[in-house]
Symmetry: C2
Subunit: 210 residues, 2 copies
């Protein structure tokens, strides 16, 4: 075993190994996206993300601008919320919220027979203007964001579209990509709250430090 036990040293060594393996695979990452791609691999130990991460044009600038102006961050799971590095976010005056466990959201979802994720996004649209959306679970959240944006009822600053799964996931991601909303998306079935948080934190660390 490696004789490294300090968290930041473990992380540095992990990124060294990831960079080395990418190099050995003969791959070269675009400098602009390298931190995001490597952090997703760090979080998953899954190098298939080398081939699936989609960045819309100027996605990184849009995300960093939104972070610098203290935009509210809305997640679709408490796991993604837990994964976001709060102290870095606070440095920029930002805050992260998740409405999924709110009683009004649950009630309305039940009454309308839709997902809580969908109702959460509607709540976010009513409460804030230019939010950052970090979606790691629900394709219905992504679909609602795209619909609301196209109806002029929401103006997302930036969306991380990383639901995981087998039903409507690839289709929802494609709709987000086609919408022209600034976004980062792991195409295909893979993703998750951990992946969504990793993408977010990579950009956050570049913007605010740690």
């Amino acid at each position: 075993m490696t004789d490294i036990y300090r968290p930041m040293e473990i992380e540095a060594e992990s990124f060294r190994i990831i960079s080395e393996e990418i190099r050995r695979m003969g791959r070269e990452l675009p400098a602009e996206y390298a931190s995001v791609i490597k952090r997703v691999i760090h979080t998953t130990a899954d190098f298939s993300y080398l081939d699936t991460l989609y960045f819309s044009e100027h996605a990184m600038e849009a995300a960093k601008r939104a972070l610098k102006t203290g935009s509210r961050v809305v997640t679709d799971t408490n796991m993604a919320l837990a994964g976001i590095h709060k102290s870095s976010l606070r440095k920029l005056g930002g805050e992260a919220v998740c409405y999924m466990a709110d009683r009004d959201v649950a009630k309305q979802a039940e009454r309308r027979q839709v997902t809580r994720a969908q109702v959460s996004m509607e709540k976010a649209a009513r409460q804030g203007d230019k939010c950052i959306y970090v979606i790691g679970n629900a394709p219905t959240a992504l679909l609602r964001i795209v619909d609301l944006a196209q109806e002029g009822k929401m103006c997302p600053a930036f969306v991380i579209g990383a639901p995981v799964g087998f039903v409507n996931v690839t289709e929802a991601k494609q709709r987000l990509i086609d919408s022209g909303i600034p976004c980062i998306v792991p195409r295909g079935r893979k993703g998750g709250s951990n992946v969504a948080a990793a993408i977010f934190n990579a950009i956050l660390y570049e913007t605010a430090g740690r």
Copy 2:
């Protein structure tokens, strides 16, 4: 897109697709472990877990027995804690805790120059007797559990050993497997808080329902 929007229907359809794909791969899962294996694939969309999930002998019985007696559940991340299905756990009189953000843990880790995960496990050993450990991030947490158990300072009822990463991860998992402690482990580099929570929830749902 599939015209399914109710959460439980989406989940049922996802599991149907997963079962179908496993069958088409010519694989048959041991009935005892099928719910865990499929839920991990549901959480990750990653079928490589078919080949890596290790179950110690009688792991499922040990886990279910601990759940039925209301054992405390200790996680090494707030993400894993967030992913655990609390209302099912409450039915069994159990509770889940994570000491990672505790001030005394942070202080002691800083002073001793070790990871907070390691100090968290020591805190758990002092506070409870037969806990369930759900480890999704820190190999140092696993190593500390094995050491404390071998020193007779901890008696874990059951351990989910699912750290993810590149430094000491596969080695720490192997030490857990070799220790004889009842455990479930995704061998190799992959894992994560989401995987750890998925393994836990699969067993929880079998024991308590939802």
